[in-house]
């Protein structure tokens, strides 16, 4: 629920052990969301029930089963964040690689564009794009995807610039490889490690911001379970049912930690 600190921060904090717990949590989250999607949402009941046999985690303000929404909402938030991260990675990757690989005036122009885009906090940039698109889940995906692209582009520009001067790139150029071939066959395989790792970290950032925007009320239909919106709803009934806000927030934080932890581990592994 904040600025792109995860994306601008340093990614290299050493994490040594394999992130099995993190991967298991993410798998559980997605599998749970998928399975719960197979059964229809339980019908509305009396609102704000405490956990009981009929509703294991109680019911929310509108009498909907909270447990069902928590599990279904996780996968939904995850997929929205995944979509927006994918847009950032594709667009930012192209942008950054083009700048870092091309060099010269093209690099100057593309880098200045990055500066301009980075001068506005990505969450605010996403908010403005959202203002232009109107609220909705697709709009959130696109807005954060575009808003986060520059952050990613800057990282990838540095990576591409680093690889560009390597001997094998020189060899490829000398052998007459075209620009496209140089990038696809020689540059991409050599930055795919950091690309995937930065992607995972960027995804953690996207997840925070998806939840932020939907918390503020920019998401899709109110009936669709989604963690950010659920946190906003749970906040309204915090006095009566504090476990709801606690549950959603803890699940959100845990998922973000899990994704980042995996990303850091992957980044570290690729450095060695």
């Amino acid at each position: 629920m904040n600025t792109p600190r995860i994306a601008t921060g340093d990614y290299s904090a050493a994490r040594d052990s394999r992130p099995w717990a993190a991967i298991a949590w993410i798998a559980l989250l997605l599998a749970g969301g998928f399975l719960v999607g197979l059964i229809p949402a339980p019908a509305a009941d009396a609102p704000l029930q405490p956990p009981n046999a009929g509703h294991w985690l109680g019911t929310d303000l509108l009498g909907r089963d909270f447990g069902w929404r928590l599990i279904a909402g996780g996968a939904r938030t995850f997929l929205i964040a995944l979509g927006s991260a994918a847009i950032s990675i594709l667009l930012g990757g192209l942008w950054g690689i083009a700048a870092g690989f091309a060099g010269g005036w093209a690099d100057r122009v593309l880098s200045r564009l990055m500066d301009a885009a980075l001068a506005v906090p990505a969450l605010i940039l996403g908010l403005v794009i959202l203002a232009a698109l109107g609220p909705g889940e697709g709009a959130v995906i696109l807005a954060l995807g575009l808003g986060g692209a520059a952050t990613f582009a800057r990282l990838l520009r540095a990576e591409a610039g680093r690889i560009r001067g390597r001997e094998y790139m020189l060899a490829a150029r000398t052998l007459g490889a075209g620009k496209i071939r140089q990038v696809v066959r020689h540059l991409l395989p050599n930055i795919s490690g950091p690309l995937a790792a930065y992607g995972a970290l960027h995804f953690g950032w996207a997840m925070v911001n998806v939840a932020s925007l939907t918390f503020l009320g920019f998401g899709g239909a109110p009936s669709a379970p989604e963690w950010g919106r659920m946190l906003a709803e749970a906040r309204l009934v915090f006095g009566q049912a504090p476990w709801q806000a606690m549950g959603v927030g803890a699940a959100l934080a845990l998922t973000i930690v899990a994704v980042q932890h995996s990303g850091e581990w992957w980044l570290e592994r690729n450095r060695r």
Partner: protein
């Protein structure tokens, strides 16, 4: 000369951001007058009349020229909804956001550096380091909307307790600042953790140790100085990003301020307010970026040579 060029380049960036906001809003789907008519606050004719008065029916480029003519004369326009001058509104809201951002940032830097320094020593037989490292990892992933809620909840007894008024007011500022600082400080702390750990391997550290400087996490400021420089650069950037963070914080804690003003303005389509706030965000970012670069060069003598 270098600085003048940099300032000019940065002014272009601010202008580009404001321009982007200008066109994105007007070409977008949020129509400020549609919400008025939808709520029955204005008839179609009244809305059309307002559109004419506000100049929203004229060609985009003409509106653009008029807006930037005003900006160059120091006139940021008026809110479509309240009719107040945007500059005045920003001044009022900033009076709430500035203390929050300042306190949050100070807490973040203190918390981040302290925990980062401890976490950087994570190793065998140093459990505190591992704990600090884990705190930073979780803190960076904690949404402000959630940590704010927990803090509010934990502070309920304090609010019901008979407290002197100044203390209560202080608490009103400290809680949102604390929630914000947990997240912001954690990311600063994570950067500090890595930076300090990496700097331990550097030659100048070996040289200093050979000259008899003690080892240890906070052994000597001169040891930390070079490692702290990039962290401060990040902290400068974080200060600029606090405007984004205050959006959520101010909504959660029901405080007035710039962040909340921006959310409301975007939701309602208050064009002049959004444009001005975006330009302000870019300006703040650039100013802090320059301060951060400058202080990094002061702290680590090598930074100036590299750039």
């Amino acid at each position: 000369m270098r600085y003048i060029r940099r300032i000019l380049e940065n002014l272009v960036v601010v202008w580009a951001v404001a321009t982007l906001a200008f066109f994105a809003l007007r070409l977008g789907r949020v129509d400020p007058l549609a919400s008025l008519t939808a709520q029955g606050l204005a008839t179609q004719e009244q809305a059309a009349e307002m559109r004419r008065v506000l100049g929203l029916d004229r060609p985009l480029l003409e509106q653009y020229a008029q807006y930037f003519g005003g900006v160059l004369r120091g006139d940021l326009g008026r809110s479509i909804f309240s009719g107040q001058e945007v500059a005045g509104m920003i001044g009022e809201a900033a009076a709430y956001t500035a203390p929050l951002a300042l306190l949050a940032w100070s807490l973040s830097v203190a918390f981040g550096l302290a925990f980062g320094a401890v976490a950087s020593r994570r190793g065998k037989g140093y459990a505190i380091g591992r704990i600090a490292s884990a705190v930073l990892a979780v803190g960076a992933a904690t949404p402000v909307a959630w940590s704010g809620l927990i803090l509010l909840w934990a502070a309920i007894p304090l609010f019901t307790a008979p407290l002197p008024d100044p203390l209560r007011e202080g608490l009103r500022l400290l809680l949102p600042a604390g929630a914000l600082a947990l997240t912001v400080g954690s990311s600063i702390g994570r950067a500090a953790e890595t930076s300090i750990r990496d700097s331990r391997g550097e030659l100048f550290q070996l040289a200093m140790r050979a000259h008899g400087f003690p080892r240890g996490a906070l052994a000597d400021w001169r040891m930390l100085r070079a490692a702290v420089a990039p962290v401060l650069a990040l902290a400068g950037m974080e200060a600029a990003f606090l405007l984004g963070g205050t959006m959520i914080t101010e909504v959660v804690f029901a405080r007035p301020g710039l962040g909340r003003m921006l959310v409301d303005a975007v939701l309602r389509g208050d064009y002049p307010v959004v444009q001005a706030l975006l330009a302000l965000a870019a300006l703040v970012y650039i100013v802090f970026g320059m301060i951060a670069d400058f202080s990094a060069a002061m702290l680590d003598p090598r930074a100036g040579e590299a750039s």
